[in-house]
Symmetry: C2
Subunit: 482 residues, 2 copies
């Protein structure tokens, strides 16, 4: 079986795991490895190739997620039938087939899952996705009424292209909302409205330039990492501890920009205490051109204690770029996010990308503005907070029997909690055991930006999209399986 | 008067005109040049500085457009009151004040004007903007009804994030529409839906890479040029003739990508004949990595002869990237554009930016899809074509008395025509004379990507946004003034 003649090189920009992944994927595509064949265990292949076991695990994960291989609990990894693979015609430039085997629908699904690579298709009865939200409670009636009222006015101006930064009225409202709820200090001029976080992060290449090194915690929000990687001269991962990103590591990294989620780090759920925040702000202020990108993605949902104010609210040096979205709090399809720029960056914005047309229709901006102004948003948030808290509390109650084997963290906020095994355990094995009983849970390493080692696996259980019955039943099954 | 001690340098990346502009703007901001003072004429300053007169003209144009100076017909250029200037606080990095004096509202207005730098605010009775469209005929009723129907279904899935490329249903419809109306050959997989042309052009940095040199005609669509300039290793302008971009010039330029508008070049109105198209496609196919970006921005409006099929329809080598928008044909606020990628670029798209979330809400995509499928779009287009043709015909009729002095071009399509003076004339002077009688017309040089010389000025008259009475009255005034 160890006839995998993988030749690992120091090829620039290619991780070892990628090389292993590509070698095996090519072998499968070329029919050299046949359906049903068993792959060596991660341990034995790691021994054979003289690499860390986690490197092989990462390669296998990628193969699993792209449907090349499948994992059979207690048995190992097996090659899938290659006819099942979807192929996009090879392009004329003869680029490697990497990534092209992804099915378009799967790519879409992956994007929707936001930060987790998609798993091999498989049916799950219960999906503890940390990204799912509860759309069943969306106030369609209110939204519809606002839309109807706005469209009834024959307001021709709404069909005209608006300001690049977003409509003044919406920016004014967002500004007041952010100040009241998150302590954000800004004027409406500093707010840029855009169609989603991805788009706003893309704009940073024009505002900060591409000659930056961006630092991320590991694990972190993988999509943001990929976007920064797409334009920044460098990206680095920096160690973190129970208080969040380590500032000594950040200083040592040579980065000028750090992407952080102080209110609640994804996926770890860490809330950054004031001490670390101060350190971080001091780091940023210590040299010109240093900036902190604060992604305040789900600050709305906290179920205990006082809300944590934003990092931006404590920033006196103008070094925090604050990003927020209405995707979690209203609906993912709304496609309205916003960015608060420090005054010092407005010149660069105006000069380098201030002429880009707005990516959000004025009708949508007007509907959202009315949704906020009318109080409907606040009522909706309160309703959702209550609904999510009930799910959260129920989940915690159900998880009690597992707490002899697992340590719970990340509770009392957001839409997921984390379970860390007390005894050594492999993440993949936990996910597999859950999957075997029809339950999908998520691994911390799936949000890894670079391979990391841990003896005791951590899994994520999201509850936003599940009803009470599913939560009860899901945990019941997990209790037996894990 | 010639006390403008401008020191011109070969400073990297700074045009001479920029240096002149910055010097004068600084003098005004610092109060060294006072309101009411007269600037030297462009001729005398050009003599004094030993630069081309067009260089000084470009600097003055910029100053005019940003409200630093104003032009008084037959008298010259005068400094404006500095208190009228809007200032954004100077940022801490001590960046030059350039561009920061732009009023936000003006910036918005400029963006809306798409390709023309905004003029000093001034009241015009009649504005022959080439970018204005007639929104008074937008079928609000139909749009409202479709929206209501869609929102009434409690279709929760519409509020979920959709596929990065756009909803499959909409891509399918656009695909069929493009094939039927523009001869575009593509499968729905090749279509990327995005929030506006600017966004789609931005994606090209991921699909084509940044190591490209992009060629443009001069004049051309300035916004597209600025976007390419924001990421491409190089941008060049290439000579054009009455058939469009010159392929010998393109070959000589070393460019790999050319941005063209074969159906109707903006602003010249040139329709590229089949011979030049073939040459262009041959150029693209002659070397790997060469691509043509076809912006088919207002192909819908032709008033005589058969519609010109798209360049893409004749492309057998997969070298045309086709871009279209619903901004002109539906409404600018719809914010839905689309790009048709050659199959050979799908791999790069998928790999480098296929994970970016869609920038268009699913609700908007569904409304537009229904608008297209129901036949409402076709009816609307036919109605608009008729309305615009009537305006076009009336304009041509009214322009008869001017044709002793001007040569007409760019008629029978689009939403503007061009007038070129038969006798030597300066563009600025024509615009000024029109402005003096309350009529705003636009100069060809305002769409210049680089200064160009011409003895006989060309001005643009757009009619999309004007009613019959305005057209009549506007031309009456122009006849007297020019």
């Amino acid at each position: 079986m160890n006839d995998l003649a993988i030749h690992l090189t120091d090829e620039k920009g290619k991780h070892l795991y990628e090389q292993i992944y590509e070698y095996i994927a090519d072998e499968i595509r070329e029919g050299k490895l046949l359906a049903g064949e068993k792959l060596p265990s991660t341990r034995s292949l790691a021994d054979y190739l003289q690499v860390a076991r986690s490197t092989v695990e990462l390669a296998y994960e990628q193969l699993l997620s792209e449907g090349y291989i499948e994992s059979v609990p207690y048995k190992g990894y097996f090659i899938c039938r290659v006819e099942e693979l979807y192929r996009i015609r090879t392009d004329e430039d003869g680029e490697s087939g990497r990534r092209k085997t992804q099915r378009p629908e799967r790519a879409a699904e992956a994007a929707q899952k936001d930060c987790f690579s998609e798993k091999r298709e498989r049916s799950f009865d219960i999906d503890f996705s940390p990204n799912a939200i509860d759309m069943s409670r969306f106030p369609f009636g209110t939204w519809r009424k606002i839309t109807r009222d706005i469209l009834s006015g024959d307001r021709t101006e709404l069909f005209a292209l608006g300001e690049p930064r977003g409509d003044a009225a919406l920016r004014e409202t967002v500004c007041r909302y952010l100040h009241a709820s998150r302590g954000v200090n800004a004027s409406p001029e500093q707010i840029i409205v855009g169609a989603g976080n991805d788009y706003l992060l893309l704009l940073l290449q024009y505002i900060l330039g591409r000659d930056i090194t961006a630092a991320f915690e590991n694990p972190s929000y993988r999509r943001a990492f990929r976007i920064f990687s797409s334009f920044a001269a460098g990206t680095v991962t920096v160690p973190s501890d129970e208080n969040g990103i380590r500032v000594d590591g950040l200083s040592a990294s040579g980065a000028d920009v750090a992407y952080v989620m102080p209110s609640r780090q994804f996926p770890t759920g860490t809330v950054m205490p004031i001490g670390r925040r101060t350190e971080l702000l001091r780091w940023a202020a210590a040299a010109p051109g240093r900036y902190l990108v604060e992604d305040d993605y789900d600050s709305e949902f906290r179920y205990r204690g006082k809300p944590v104010p934003s990092l931006q609210s404590a920033d006196t040096a103008g070094r925090v770029i604050y990003i927020g979205t209405f995707s979690k709090s209203v609906a993912p399809a709304i496609r309205i996010s916003f960015m608060v720029l420090p005054e010092g960056l407005l010149g660069a914005y105006e000069k380098n990308c201030g002429f880009f047309s707005s990516t959000v229709s004025r009708i949508d901006q007007t509907i959202l503005n009315e949704f906020l102004l009318s109080g409907a948003f606040e009522r909706h948030l309160n309703r959702m907070r209550k609904a999510y808290r009930e799910k959260h509390d129920l989940l915690l109650e159900c998880l009690q029997p597992l707490l002899d084997r697992f340590r719970l963290s990340g509770e009392y906020a957001g839409l997921h909690v984390l379970l860390t095994s007390k005894d050594p355990a492999r993440e993949e094995s936990l996910l597999e055991r859950a999957a075997a009983c029809g339950v999908r849970i998520y691994g911390l390493k799936e949000a890894a930006l670079a391979p990391f080692e841990t003896d005791c696996a951590t899994v994520l259980l999201g509850y936003g999209g599940l009803d009470q019955e599913k939560i009860r039943e899901g945990v019941r099954r997990l209790d037996k399986a894990l």
